[in-house]
């Protein structure tokens, strides 16, 4: 048998928490949201897995997945073009009546045949709504040492207001734990308490055989959610271990948090914390270096390649191929790929999706608490 480098295979849920950022997922999914000037959200989990030697990765796409397919291609940039394993993209299997995945269970149920065939003893599962440089090997080690059936990573932090304010359950579920001697004794679904809590990162390590059994049973019972319906009810039976993560994490829980998490990276300390570990890979665009032309004035910005800057830019994140004309003013903005700001335009607290054009002389201002959003391909 060909030995796998890793003892685990990976499963990523790229649509998880899409409803939290309706503006950004209009033409894409959580996983393909541009982040940190040249990445997409999925790059972080995918690179982390790849860097840990996990090279058999399934991406359970649900809807709006063209942008992600385009981004991932064959998986070469993440070193995931492998004879054994590699990157697999699983869209919902069209049956007599085409159905989307509802929760993790239906997605995993469609993967059962595949899971049974695999050799790796463990499965790691993650969403793509968090940007982390995560050491899966350390978590797998912890899982084995504690004799866990299931391990869940968490971070001690407050639940973002945007989540707490979501009163109905239409936007998905989030979880906090009670932990006793490392073991999770209670799981709370969509809690609204303030203050620092054991907030789940939705990163799991689980024995593959156990996962197959659990999904099989749950699917037959019509259950949808792995955490809410399966784990929560079996905490006394199963050894569910908590794995504390203390590294840097950006969690996208709304358009405001998207704005804030990008802006946080203008602080070198945060930037180093997220990127100084293993490298984060992304799709290569072969842009030329960014050019600053005479008259450009920039201060506290993160800029990707391929930009041409002649105007003023302050406290902003520019993605690849952005053009800022002479006399244009950009302050506290996130401008995605190929945004054009024409001469004399002035924008503040604004998120421009890809290919947006701000015409000459236009002025637009959002606020610190409420950044403006301009949808993809729009001209202002």
């Amino acid at each position: 048998m060909v030995k796998s480098k890793s003892s685990a295979l990976g499963i990523i849920f790229p649509n998880h928490y899409d409803p939290l950022v309706p503006e950004l997922v209009n033409v894409r999914m959580m996983a393909s949201i541009p982040f940190a000037s040249r990445y997409r959200m999925i790059d972080f989990i995918l690179s982390s897995m790849s860097n840990c030697g996990i090279d058999n990765i399934s991406v359970m796409v649900n809807n709006n997945y063209h942008s992600l397919m385009d981004h991932l291609g064959s998986g070469r940039e993440w070193d995931l073009v492998r004879k054994n394993g590699g990157l697999n993209i699983f869209p919902p299997y069209s049956e007599r009546a085409s159905k989307r995945y509802n929760g993790r269970i239906s997605a995993l149920a469609s993967l059962l045949g595949f899971l049974r065939e695999q050799k790796e003893p463990y499965v790691v599962m993650a969403d793509s709504s968090i940007a982390v440089n995560f050491d899966f090997n350390d978590m797998i080690r912890h899982h084995i040492e504690t004799g866990a059936d299931v391990s869940i990573a968490y971070k001690e932090e407050e639940i973002p207001e945007s989540l707490r304010r979501t009163l109905d359950h239409s936007k998905g579920f989030y979880y906090t734990f009670n932990i006793q001697d490392g073991r999770i004794t209670k799981i709370y679904v969509n809690p609204t308490e303030k203050g620092v809590q054991n907030f789940s990162m939705n990163i799991y390590v689980i024995d593959r055989e156990l996962l197959i059994d659990m999904v099989n049973t749950a699917f037959v019972r019509g259950q949808e959610h792995f955490n809410r319906d399966v784990l929560l009810t079996q905490l006394s039976k199963l050894n569910v271990q908590a794995y504390k993560y203390e590294g840097y994490m950006a969690r996208i829980s709304g358009i405001k948090s998207y704005f804030d998490e990008n802006m946080k990276l203008l602080d070198d300390y945060n930037l180093d914390a997220l990127f100084s570990g293993a490298p984060i890979y992304t799709k290569i665009r072969d842009d030329n270096p960014t050019r600053y032309i005479d008259g450009a004035k920039v201060s506290n910005v993160m800029v990707a390649d391929g930009c041409v800057i002649e105007g003023e830019v302050e406290n902003s994140i520019l993605f690849r191929g952005v053009q800022i004309a002479k006399g244009a003013k950009v302050k506290n903005c996130i401008l995605m790929q190929d945004t054009v700001v024409e001469s004399g335009a002035s924008i503040e607290y604004l998120i421009a999706d890809k290919n947006v054009k701000v015409s000459a002389g236009k002025e637009m201002k959002g606020a610190d608490t409420f950044p403006l959003f301009i949808a993809k391909n729009h001209t202002v």
């Binding site: 930037l271 030329n288 201060s299 800029v303 990707a304 520019l318 993605f319």
Partner: protein, 402 residues
């Protein structure tokens, strides 16, 4: 299946006039233009021109180049049939030999070309910065029903004596070749880029190999032999940007020209003719509050807190607050500490310039040297490096080198 045309890229040159920059790497691997290496230009030209098979002849310090080329994927040259192949000299049953000259390098790899049985072979040089459509060159070659064509550039007559010159009639047929003549009869300089009919190339290389007097060089031997036999030889006029970056000053100058594409003609912002390169994989660059950036090119991984004017920074360069950089080419991973002044110079990869050190100087009168610091060199605090210095060893704090 036969290929119409394959490329042979001469990349064995030591580039000895680049001194400190080429101690440990071949000239085609020298970094250029913020995120490229020189060899990215001919390789990208090949793939943009529809050539999918490239043999790279290496000899001098090939490690960096080999690793950089890898399987050719960044240039889309990882192909099932063809693709990019690095061809160092190798041992045969009859013995082994280094490449004795440009012609001999190709001669030793005739078997490689034979595998693809091409109609035409284009010979490229790995030390020029040039965006050129080789398919247009091939069209010319075919239209003229030529057996050999050479790409030429018109140069000012006063500079003509520095070049190999092609004398051609009004139909562009070559009648004479002059190598660096005192009295030039032409101002058409050879760019060292040739298209041969495969049978002609094979015949003349084989013949040349049997001549013990030959230097096995295209310019000195093969072209004169073709002329002697009155072969159908034509000169293809190229008028775009072309620069041989064989010297420190021309390398520095070409980098500065990248900053001014409107006038210099070397535009890297060309969606229709992209130059591909192996990616650094670093995050976007950061310009801090208080930093000054004017008229410069900056790429991924850079952190700028100081002042950068009219300069090219490669991936991962760090410029601390209070440092001043002007008219400089700073290659990947170098660090400029607080208060250092770096002007009119080339710093190779992973150089460290200590606090308040001074490297190079803006031209003054006759004095216009480009100070050069070799890869990995550490310049200590308060050290002074003069404008003509070529530094390949660490300089202690407070030390001087002129």
């Amino acid at each position: 299946m036969a290929k119409e045309m394959i490329a042979m890229l001469l990349a064995g040159g030591q580039g000895s006039r680049l001194y400190a920059l080429t101690q440990r790497l071949a000239k085609p691997a020298v970094p250029f233009g913020g995120k490229y290496r020189i060899i990215d230009f001919p390789l990208s030209n090949c793939v943009n021109s529809g050539i999918d098979t490239v043999g790279i002849l290496t000899q001098y310090q090939p490690l960096v180049l080999n690793e950089y080329i890898g399987n050719g994927q960044p240039w889309d040259l990882d192909r099932l049939y063809g693709g990019v192949h690095v061809l160092p000299p190798y041992q045969r049953a009859t013995g082994s030999d280094w490449y004795k000259g440009t012609a001999n390098a190709i001669y030793q790899n005739l078997d490689f070309i034979e595998r693809y049985d091409p109609k035409y072979v284009i010979i490229l040089s790995g030390d020029q910065i040039c965006k050129q459509d080789y398919s247009d060159f091939l069209k010319f070659h075919k239209e003229k029903n030529a057996e050999f064509s050479v790409a030429v550039m018109e140069v000012p007559w006063e500079e003509a004596p520095r070049f190999g010159l092609m004398v051609a009639d009004e139909d562009d047929r070559i009648t004479e070749f002059q190598e660096k003549p005192k009295n030039p009869k032409s101002n058409l300089a050879s760019m060292g880029i040739y298209i041969f009919n495969w049978d002609i190339l094979k015949k003349y290389l084989t013949e040349d190999e049997l001549d013990p007097q030959s230097e096995n060089d295209f310019g000195n031997n093969i072209i004169p032999n073709l002329l002697r036999d009155n072969r159908k030889m034509y000169a293809y006029h190229f008028s775009g940007y072309w620069k041989d970056v064989g010297t420190i000053s021309s390398l520095w100058e070409a980098n500065m020209e990248v900053l001014d594409p409107e006038h210099s003609g070397i535009n890297l912002f060309d969606e229709n003719w992209k130059i591909y390169s192996r990616n650094s994989g670093m995050t976007g660059h950061k310009i801090n509050a208080g930093a000054v950036v004017e008229d410069s090119m900056i790429t991924d991984g850079c952190r700028v807190a100081g002042t950068v004017k009219h300069s090219v920074l490669f991936a991962g360069v760090k410029v601390e607050a209070g440092a001043v950089i002007e008219d400089a080419v700073i290659m990947g991973g170098s660090e400029i500490k607080a208060g250092a002044i770096v002007k009119h110079c080339i710093l190779a990869e992973n150089v460290v310039i200590g606090e308040n050190a001074v490297v190079g100087a803006m031209p003054e009168g006759e004095e216009c040297g480009v100070a050069t610091v070799g890869p990995g060199v550490v310049i200590g605090e308060n050290a002074k490096i003069g404008p003509n210095a070529m530094v390949d060893k660490n300089v202690k704090g407070g030390g001087e080198q002129w």
